[in-house]
Amino acid sequence: MGNPMKIRAASKDGVTEVKVLMNHEMETGFRKDASGAPIPAWYINEVVAKLNGKVAMEAQWGPSVSKNPYLAFKIKGGAPGDKVSVSWTDSKGDTRADEVTVS
């Protein structure tokens, strides 16, 4: 189980803006450790975001997404009290899912 995400979802003028900060190393596989041995790649490669259980976005990522990835997007509709959920899967098969209420 991965580390928790920070998610903010705010409804304004009929649009729900979602901001997500994930907690992940996003190791590229190109770096080497102090002894010169390559550090294996390890990164989030799939992200799914839902509003009230309906898929709003599906992302595919490579290792060149920054460490501790930040993601922001907007969904038409949504109102305070609605649920936004975000889940990710990384290249080792680890997953994390978090949910917030739209404010």
Binding site: N45, E58, Q60, G62, Y70, A72, F73
Partner: protein, 156 residues
């Protein structure tokens, strides 16, 4: 005679085939557009290969696609990018970095109610053209911007 079906080769193959069929049908259902992580696209080392793996045919530079980013990234490890598309029926937004070891950084499939406005942060090894690639009604459009990197983000 004790013969467990999983140890029987033919039975195993039959069952495995059936299972994978069931699994693929199941995973296809809730998806928007793409079935699985596009390994070929993310492994591509040239823009042409990445476009081919993504099914991109003759993308057009368009003023209706905007790539919002600063001209200079002081830290290549964290380069904020925002792509906005004003083209109707935009269903997909991708970020590609021409001089990274692999061009494709991130791809976003958007639901019907999702605004074509996505922000993310990516790594850049060196100064490079960055491309926001947008798919709308099956056609591809781009916005390109050179971002200067003063400190690379892929070093070690």
């Amino acid at each position: 005679m004790i013969e467990h079906s999983w140890t029987d080769r033919r039975g195993f193959i039959r069952k495995a085939g059936l299972l994978s069929l069931v699994a693929s049908t199941f995973t296809l259902l809730p998806r928007l557009a793409l079935a699985a992580w596009n390994k070929a696209a993310f492994d591509s080392k040239t823009l042409a290969d990445a476009y081919q793996a993504m099914g991109v045919d003759a993308p057009k530079e368009s003023a209706d696609v905007q790539l919002l980013a600063s001209d200079i990234a002081e830290n290549g490890a964290v380069v904020p990018l925002q792509a906005v598309s004003k083209i109707p029926n935009t269903t997909q937004i991708s970020f590609l970095v021409e001089k990274n070891p692999n061009m494709l950084a991130a791809l976003f499939d958007l639901g019907p109610d999702t605004v074509a406005d996505v922000t993310a942060r990516i790594k850049m090894g060196q100064t490079s053209n960055v491309i926001a690639l947008v798919k709308a009604d099956g056609k591809f459009y781009t916005a390109t911007k050179e971002i200067k990197v003063t400190l690379g983000g892929c070093g070690g």
